[in-house]
Amino acid sequence: MNQSEFKIIKKFFESELNDVHLTKENIKRFIAEIIKAGLNTEENEDDLIKEISVYEEKLKELDDKLYETFSEHLWQSSRNASLRFNYTEIYNENKRLVLRLVGLRSTYFKLCELLKITETNSEERDEKMIEKYLPMKE
Protein backbone atom coordinates (compact mmCIF):
# COMPACT_ATOMS: atom_id res chain seq x y z
CA MET A 1 0.00 0.00 0.00
CA ASN A 2 1.47 3.35 -0.99
CA GLN A 3 1.38 6.59 1.02
CA SER A 4 -1.72 8.06 -0.68
CA GLU A 5 -3.67 4.83 -0.23
CA PHE A 6 -2.72 4.78 3.40
CA LYS A 7 -3.94 8.38 3.71
CA ILE A 8 -7.35 7.42 2.28
CA ILE A 9 -7.70 4.53 4.70
CA LYS A 10 -6.41 6.65 7.57
CA LYS A 11 -8.95 9.36 6.76
CA PHE A 12 -11.68 6.76 6.54
CA PHE A 13 -10.92 5.39 9.99
CA GLU A 14 -9.72 8.43 11.87
CA SER A 15 -13.21 9.47 12.98
CA GLU A 16 -13.47 6.19 14.86
CA LEU A 17 -9.91 5.80 15.99
CA ASN A 18 -9.01 9.39 16.74
CA ASP A 19 -7.92 8.51 20.24
CA VAL A 20 -5.63 5.76 19.04
CA HIS A 21 -2.28 6.20 17.39
CA LEU A 22 -3.33 5.28 13.87
CA THR A 23 -0.90 2.73 12.56
CA LYS A 24 -1.37 0.19 9.80
CA GLU A 25 -1.52 -2.50 12.48
CA ASN A 26 -4.35 -0.72 14.30
CA ILE A 27 -6.32 -0.36 11.07
CA LYS A 28 -5.74 -4.01 10.16
CA ARG A 29 -6.91 -5.17 13.55
CA PHE A 30 -9.95 -2.94 13.35
CA ILE A 31 -10.93 -4.09 9.87
CA ALA A 32 -10.52 -7.74 10.85
CA GLU A 33 -12.76 -7.14 13.85
CA ILE A 34 -15.50 -5.59 11.69
CA ILE A 35 -15.31 -8.22 8.95
CA LYS A 36 -15.41 -11.03 11.51
CA ALA A 37 -18.42 -9.41 13.20
CA GLY A 38 -20.10 -9.23 9.79
CA LEU A 39 -19.30 -12.84 8.89
CA ASN A 40 -20.28 -14.24 12.27
CA THR A 41 -23.74 -12.75 12.36
CA GLU A 42 -26.74 -14.53 10.92
CA GLU A 43 -28.96 -11.52 11.28
CA ASN A 44 -29.93 -9.67 8.15
CA GLU A 45 -29.23 -6.00 7.44
CA ASP A 46 -32.87 -4.91 7.80
CA ASP A 47 -33.20 -6.46 11.26
CA LEU A 48 -29.94 -4.88 12.34
CA ILE A 49 -31.06 -1.47 11.06
CA LYS A 50 -34.41 -1.82 12.87
CA GLU A 51 -32.66 -2.76 16.09
CA ILE A 52 -30.26 0.14 15.69
CA SER A 53 -33.11 2.62 15.31
CA VAL A 54 -34.67 1.28 18.53
CA TYR A 55 -31.35 1.81 20.33
CA GLU A 56 -31.03 5.28 18.78
CA GLU A 57 -34.52 6.22 19.96
CA LYS A 58 -33.73 4.91 23.43
CA LEU A 59 -30.45 6.86 23.37
CA LYS A 60 -32.34 10.10 22.71
CA GLU A 61 -34.65 9.42 25.66
CA LEU A 62 -31.70 8.55 27.87
CA ASP A 63 -29.82 11.68 26.82
CA ASP A 64 -32.82 13.82 27.85
CA LYS A 65 -33.15 11.94 31.12
CA LEU A 66 -29.42 12.33 31.76
CA TYR A 67 -29.69 16.07 31.22
CA GLU A 68 -32.64 16.26 33.63
CA THR A 69 -30.95 14.23 36.37
CA PHE A 70 -27.68 16.11 35.90
CA SER A 71 -29.50 19.45 36.30
CA GLU A 72 -31.34 18.18 39.37
CA HIS A 73 -28.06 16.89 40.81
CA LEU A 74 -26.43 20.26 40.19
CA TRP A 75 -29.34 22.08 41.85
CA GLN A 76 -29.38 19.81 44.92
CA SER A 77 -25.57 20.05 45.26
CA SER A 78 -25.57 23.83 45.14
CA ARG A 79 -28.51 23.93 47.56
CA ASN A 80 -26.57 21.63 49.86
CA ALA A 81 -23.52 23.91 49.77
CA SER A 82 -25.68 26.97 50.43
CA LEU A 83 -27.55 25.30 53.35
CA ARG A 84 -24.29 24.14 54.90
CA PHE A 85 -22.93 27.68 54.64
CA ASN A 86 -26.09 29.18 56.22
CA TYR A 87 -26.06 26.65 59.03
CA THR A 88 -22.39 27.35 59.84
CA GLU A 89 -23.01 31.11 59.76
CA ILE A 90 -25.93 30.95 62.22
CA TYR A 91 -24.18 28.38 64.40
CA ASN A 92 -21.12 30.64 64.70
CA GLU A 93 -23.33 33.65 65.40
CA ASN A 94 -24.99 31.66 68.19
CA LYS A 95 -21.59 30.74 69.58
CA ARG A 96 -20.72 34.44 69.77
CA LEU A 97 -24.09 35.21 71.41
CA VAL A 98 -23.56 32.46 73.99
CA LEU A 99 -20.13 33.88 74.83
CA ARG A 100 -21.82 37.24 75.35
CA LEU A 101 -24.49 35.51 77.49
CA VAL A 102 -21.81 33.89 79.66
CA GLY A 103 -20.20 37.29 80.22
CA LEU A 104 -23.53 38.98 81.04
CA ARG A 105 -24.50 36.18 83.45
CA SER A 106 -21.19 36.46 85.23
CA THR A 107 -21.66 40.23 85.59
CA TYR A 108 -25.23 39.67 86.78
CA PHE A 109 -24.16 37.20 89.50
CA LYS A 110 -21.39 39.54 90.69
CA LEU A 111 -23.82 42.48 90.88
CA CYS A 112 -26.35 40.37 92.85
CA GLU A 113 -23.54 39.43 95.25
CA LEU A 114 -22.48 43.05 95.69
CA LEU A 115 -26.06 44.18 96.22
CA LYS A 116 -26.62 41.21 98.54
CA ILE A 117 -29.76 40.19 96.70
CA THR A 118 -30.83 36.71 95.74
CA GLU A 119 -30.46 36.25 92.04
CA THR A 120 -33.81 35.67 90.42
CA ASN A 121 -32.93 35.78 86.78
CA SER A 122 -31.23 32.54 86.01
CA GLU A 123 -32.86 30.53 83.27
CA GLU A 124 -32.51 26.83 82.74
CA ARG A 125 -32.29 27.48 79.04
CA ASP A 126 -29.10 29.53 79.60
CA GLU A 127 -27.31 26.37 80.71
CA LYS A 128 -28.70 24.40 77.79
CA MET A 129 -27.46 26.99 75.32
CA ILE A 130 -24.02 27.09 76.93
CA GLU A 131 -23.83 23.29 76.76
CA LYS A 132 -25.00 23.30 73.17
CA TYR A 133 -22.80 26.02 71.69
CA LEU A 134 -19.84 25.99 74.09
CA PRO A 135 -19.41 22.32 74.97
CA MET A 136 -16.98 21.69 77.87
CA LYS A 137 -17.56 25.39 78.63
CA GLU A 138 -14.67 26.24 76.28
Partner: protein, 128 residues
Protein backbone atom coordinates in the same frame (compact mmCIF):
# COMPACT_ATOMS: atom_id res chain seq x y z
CA UNK B 1 -18.83 8.25 13.40
CA UNK B 2 -17.27 5.64 11.20
CA UNK B 3 -20.55 3.71 11.03
CA UNK B 4 -22.49 6.65 9.62
CA UNK B 5 -19.67 7.46 7.22
CA UNK B 6 -19.72 3.93 5.92
CA UNK B 7 -23.45 3.42 5.79
CA UNK B 8 -24.36 6.82 4.39
CA UNK B 9 -21.48 7.71 2.09
CA UNK B 10 -19.02 4.96 1.42
CA UNK B 11 -21.26 1.97 1.01
CA UNK B 12 -20.80 1.63 -2.70
CA UNK B 13 -17.24 2.86 -2.89
CA UNK B 14 -15.35 -0.14 -4.29
CA UNK B 15 -12.07 1.77 -4.23
CA UNK B 16 -12.22 1.95 -0.47
CA UNK B 17 -13.25 -1.69 -0.21
CA UNK B 18 -10.30 -2.70 -2.40
CA UNK B 19 -7.95 -0.82 -0.10
CA UNK B 20 -9.55 -2.29 2.98
CA UNK B 21 -9.32 -5.75 1.39
CA UNK B 22 -5.56 -5.32 1.03
CA UNK B 23 -5.31 -4.68 4.74
CA UNK B 24 -7.28 -7.73 5.76
CA UNK B 25 -5.49 -10.62 7.50
CA UNK B 26 -4.61 -13.41 5.03
CA UNK B 27 -6.83 -16.08 6.59
CA UNK B 28 -9.79 -13.72 6.38
CA UNK B 29 -8.99 -12.92 2.74
CA UNK B 30 -8.84 -16.64 1.96
CA UNK B 31 -12.13 -17.24 3.73
CA UNK B 32 -13.83 -14.52 1.70
CA UNK B 33 -12.21 -15.61 -1.57
CA UNK B 34 -13.27 -19.23 -1.05
CA UNK B 35 -16.85 -18.31 -0.30
CA UNK B 36 -17.08 -16.00 -3.29
CA UNK B 37 -15.41 -18.52 -5.64
CA UNK B 38 -12.42 -16.29 -6.29
CA UNK B 39 -14.19 -13.97 -8.68
CA UNK B 40 -12.88 -10.46 -8.14
CA UNK B 41 -16.23 -8.62 -8.20
CA UNK B 42 -17.87 -11.30 -6.07
CA UNK B 43 -14.98 -11.11 -3.61
CA UNK B 44 -15.42 -7.37 -3.35
CA UNK B 45 -19.19 -7.65 -3.10
CA UNK B 46 -18.90 -10.29 -0.39
CA UNK B 47 -16.33 -8.15 1.37
CA UNK B 48 -18.62 -5.13 1.09
CA UNK B 49 -21.55 -7.05 2.56
CA UNK B 50 -19.43 -8.38 5.41
CA UNK B 51 -18.14 -4.89 6.12
CA UNK B 52 -21.61 -3.37 6.04
CA UNK B 53 -23.03 -6.02 8.32
CA UNK B 54 -19.98 -5.79 10.54
CA UNK B 55 -20.37 -2.03 10.73
CA UNK B 56 -24.06 -2.44 11.66
CA UNK B 57 -23.22 -5.04 14.30
CA UNK B 58 -20.54 -2.74 15.69
CA UNK B 59 -22.86 0.24 15.63
CA UNK B 60 -25.49 -1.75 17.52
CA UNK B 61 -22.85 -2.82 20.06
CA UNK B 62 -21.65 0.77 20.47
CA UNK B 63 -25.21 2.05 20.95
CA UNK B 64 -26.03 -0.73 23.41
CA UNK B 65 -22.91 0.02 25.43
CA UNK B 66 -23.59 3.75 25.30
CA UNK B 67 -27.19 3.23 26.50
CA UNK B 68 -26.01 1.00 29.33
CA UNK B 69 -23.38 3.53 30.32
CA UNK B 70 -25.86 6.42 30.32
CA UNK B 71 -28.41 4.33 32.27
CA UNK B 72 -25.74 3.59 34.89
CA UNK B 73 -24.82 7.27 35.07
CA UNK B 74 -28.50 8.24 35.50
CA UNK B 75 -28.93 5.65 38.27
CA UNK B 76 -25.80 6.98 39.98
CA UNK B 77 -27.08 10.57 39.77
CA UNK B 78 -30.52 9.52 41.06
CA UNK B 79 -28.91 7.79 44.03
CA UNK B 80 -26.85 10.89 44.82
CA UNK B 81 -29.90 13.16 44.39
CA UNK B 82 -31.86 11.04 46.89
CA UNK B 83 -29.06 11.26 49.43
CA UNK B 84 -28.60 15.02 48.82
CA UNK B 85 -32.35 15.64 49.23
CA UNK B 86 -32.46 13.87 52.57
CA UNK B 87 -29.30 15.70 53.71
CA UNK B 88 -30.82 19.01 52.63
CA UNK B 89 -34.02 18.27 54.59
CA UNK B 90 -31.91 17.50 57.63
CA UNK B 91 -29.93 20.72 57.16
CA UNK B 92 -33.17 22.73 56.84
CA UNK B 93 -34.38 21.32 60.16
CA UNK B 94 -31.06 22.12 61.81
CA UNK B 95 -31.18 25.66 60.40
CA UNK B 96 -34.70 26.15 61.79
CA UNK B 97 -33.44 24.98 65.17
CA UNK B 98 -30.38 27.29 65.26
CA UNK B 99 -32.49 30.19 63.99
CA UNK B 100 -34.90 29.66 66.86
CA UNK B 101 -31.94 29.56 69.30
CA UNK B 102 -30.57 32.70 67.65
CA UNK B 103 -33.77 34.65 68.28
CA UNK B 104 -33.92 33.44 71.87
CA UNK B 105 -30.25 34.31 72.48
CA UNK B 106 -30.64 37.83 71.07
CA UNK B 107 -33.65 38.46 73.31
CA UNK B 108 -31.98 36.90 76.34
CA UNK B 109 -28.73 38.90 76.02
CA UNK B 110 -30.75 42.11 75.57
CA UNK B 111 -32.77 41.22 78.67
CA UNK B 112 -29.62 40.57 80.75
CA UNK B 113 -28.07 43.81 79.51
CA UNK B 114 -31.12 45.74 80.72
CA UNK B 115 -31.16 43.95 84.11
CA UNK B 116 -27.43 44.52 84.61
CA UNK B 117 -27.85 48.21 83.79
CA UNK B 118 -30.56 48.48 86.46
CA UNK B 119 -28.36 46.66 88.99
CA UNK B 120 -25.39 48.94 88.23
CA UNK B 121 -27.62 51.96 88.84
CA UNK B 122 -28.71 50.46 92.17
CA UNK B 123 -25.08 49.94 93.14
CA UNK B 124 -24.25 53.51 92.29
CA UNK B 125 -27.17 54.74 94.39
CA UNK B 126 -25.84 52.74 97.34
CA UNK B 127 -22.46 54.33 96.71
CA UNK B 128 -20.65 50.99 96.31
Amino acid sequence: MLWELWIMNERSDYETIKKIFVLMPNELKQEIEEVSKKKRTEVLEYCKQALTKGMLVKKRETLKEKNELISEKIAEFEKQIKSLKSENDMLLNKIREVEEDNTWLINRTEELERINEVLVKKLKLRGV
